[in-house]
């Protein structure tokens, strides 16, 4: 059909179907999956329903309630598949489910939003941690396995297999589709938030946004973070995550110069930052703080806020940053938090103090292959005059960095070590 311009009714039908898909795909899958516990079958039934829509809407017109239409067709496709199984299920098991599906969501009413319940199922502790983020992206946002695998640096076949296995596990072990009870909510929510954060981080490794798959991933993650705050408005960590992602995303256009060079935060041009996003982030963080329940994501958002504030006003606030990273480390034991704290400490008490703090975590094996650790170490060593040691640390950092722009930046800094007027920049 490549050389034919689709006629108007076909185009209208396609536009309508795409609009519904964008708006409602996740809701429809979640509704079907939560009733049947079979995510894969729900997805199949829905994709058949969309195909059916593209086949009949051009001729019959777009229905007044496209969501309900799609759901009704998907239900029928789902039941057809189950009935058509080679060996039919014993009546006792399947019919009550079929009845429920048929009876639910009559034509004119709103389809209940089960997306949150589905996200909790996807991020259940019983699901392999590395597949939670890809799973949520696929079932809530309808991203296909190819897109997801490209973003997570996995082969499409391997990713598809893991997604299939995860959905099977949900079905066969009967992982519930349910927002957890009060007592369990904070810890279970954390796994959902971690999955969204993982998806965002994958998207963020393409800072210039030139890799379409990854840039979109960051946007999708942001969408999911917003969705969770809408569905759980009283959860401060959800608000914290959204604030964090908004801060990170607000600086997308400032992270690389026009020549493609890496621009560290303290050197970025604040006029390139997205002010609306920053404002929204601050609002979310303020709202979160009203609950008086500090958590990891709120701390990270607060740190972003502190960095932004310092860059905008030019007023150093390193003591506050030290405190925040200290709190983060106390809460999470994260060596990265301890590392960042030692860097901030150097700003307050000098490079020796920073290096002493860094040496306390130097034996953590997780830092051995963490580029920013070696880069930060090199910086502080350089400031104490230990230029040879600093050069060695820069070499390690360069070897560990795969982004060419960052490598180039690190090489430049190493090059300046032995320049006649070496000074801290």
């Amino acid at each position: 059909m490549e050389n034919q311009v689709p006629d108007q009714s076909t185009q209208l039908a396609q536009n309508a179907a795409e609009a519904v898909a964008r708006r409602s795909y996740g809701k429809l899958v979640a509704f079907l999956a939560s009733r049947t516990h079979d995510v894969a079958a729900a997805e199949d039934a829905l994709s058949k329903a969309f195909a059916s829509a593209l086949g009949t809407w051009p001729a019959n017109g777009v229905p007044t309630n496209p969501e309900a239409w799609l759901l009704a067709v998907a239900r029928r496709k789902f039941i057809d598949v189950k009935r058509g199984d080679r060996f039919t299920e014993s009546a006792t098991d399947e019919l009550p489910i079929m009845d429920e599906i048929m009876a639910a969501a009559p034509e004119n009413s709103e389809i209940p939003d089960e997306r949150l319940a589905m996200m909790f199922a996807c991020a259940h502790p019983a699901i392999d941690a590395s597949v939670r983020a890809p799973l949520i992206l696929q079932v809530v946002l309808g991203l296909n396995a190819n897109t997801i695998s490209a973003a997570f640096l996995a082969s499409p076949a391997a990713m598809a297999k893991r997604l299939v296995r995860a959905k099977e596990k949900i079905r066969e072990t009967r992982i519930p589709f349910r927002v957890p009870a009060r007592e369990e909510l904070p810890s279970r929510l954390e796994t959902v938030l971690d999955a969204i954060y993982a998806a965002f981080s994958e998207g963020w490794t393409d800072p210039a946004g030139t890799d379409a798959a990854r840039r979109d991933l960051a946007e999708e993650a942001l969408y999911l973070a917003r969705l969770v705050t809408e569905l759980l408005p009283d959860e401060p960590e959800a608000l914290g995550l959204l604030a964090l992602l908004l801060h990170a995303e607000s600086r997308r256009h400032a992270r690389r110069s026009t020549a493609g060079d890496f621009v560290p935060l303290d050197r970025q041009d604040p006029s390139l930052w997205n002010q609306n996003m920053i404002r929204e982030a601050e609002m979310m963080l303020r709202r979160a703080s009203e609950f008086g329940a500090i958590g990891r994501y709120q701390l990270e958002a607060a740190l972003q806020s502190a960095h932004v504030d310092r860059c905008r006003t030019g007023k150093p606030n390193w003591e506050a940053v030290v405190t925040l990273y200290g709190a983060h480390f106390a809460l999470t034991g994260s060596p990265v938090a301890a590392l960042n704290r030692s860097v901030a400490l150097a700003e307050v008490e000098g490079p020796e103090a920073g290096l002493n703090a860094m040496n306390e975590i130097a034996s953590d094996p997780r830092l051995a292959e963490y580029q920013p650790y070696w880069a930060a170490r090199a910086e502080l060593l350089a400031r104490t005059g230990a230029r040879d040691e600093a050069a060695g640390a820069y070499d390690l950092a360069i070897a560990l960095e795969r982004d060419p722009a960052v490598r180039s930046f690190l090489k430049q800094r190493k090059g300046r070590l032995h320049s006649p007027s070496h000074s801290r920049e």
């Binding site: 199984d85 080679r86 060996f87 299920e89 014993s90 066969e172 009967r174 992982i175 349910r178 957890p180």
Partner: protein, 126 residues
């Protein structure tokens, strides 16, 4: 939905306990089993003898190979089982958490295969 709770423990610990501690331990398991029974969730349970009482049987080339000892030589061994019937995985996990074995060892939670005709077909890779 049926799940097996498989308790894995370090066998060297029980003999090291005092008689009082062992009595407390037994009472804890008894209380757990009672709770499961009261909740109508217990289908079966059993405490296994130590792995030194195990014998393995493998048949190769039509010949039976019988060996002394458990299948896997490790510090943690299967010590007991509870077959429970509960609505979903979270319910099974809650019981596993309450099982005394989870305090000193590990409890594996594995669902049973649902034996309907199409499940049988699926299990043979249809």
């Amino acid at each position: 939905m049926q799940y097996m709770l498989l308790a894995q423990l370090d066998e060297t610990q029980w003999p090291k306990m005092t008689k009082e501690q062992q009595e407390q331990g037994t009472a804890a398991y008894f209380a757990f089993t009672e709770a499961l029974t009261k909740a109508g969730a217990l289908k079966a349970s059993g405490r296994l003898r130590p792995s030194s009482d195990s014998t393995t049987v493998r048949v190769a080339n039509g010949k039976a190979q019988v060996l002394d000892g458990p299948f896997i030589d490790s510090k943690e061994q299967l010590a007991g089982y509870f077959l429970i019937d509960v609505p979903d995985l979270d319910a099974a996990l809650k019981w596993a958490e309450r099982c005394p074995a989870s305090q000193h060892g590990v409890v594996e939670v594995r669902p049973l295969w649902v034996m309907t005709p199409s499940a049988v077909a699926a299990s043979v890779g249809d």
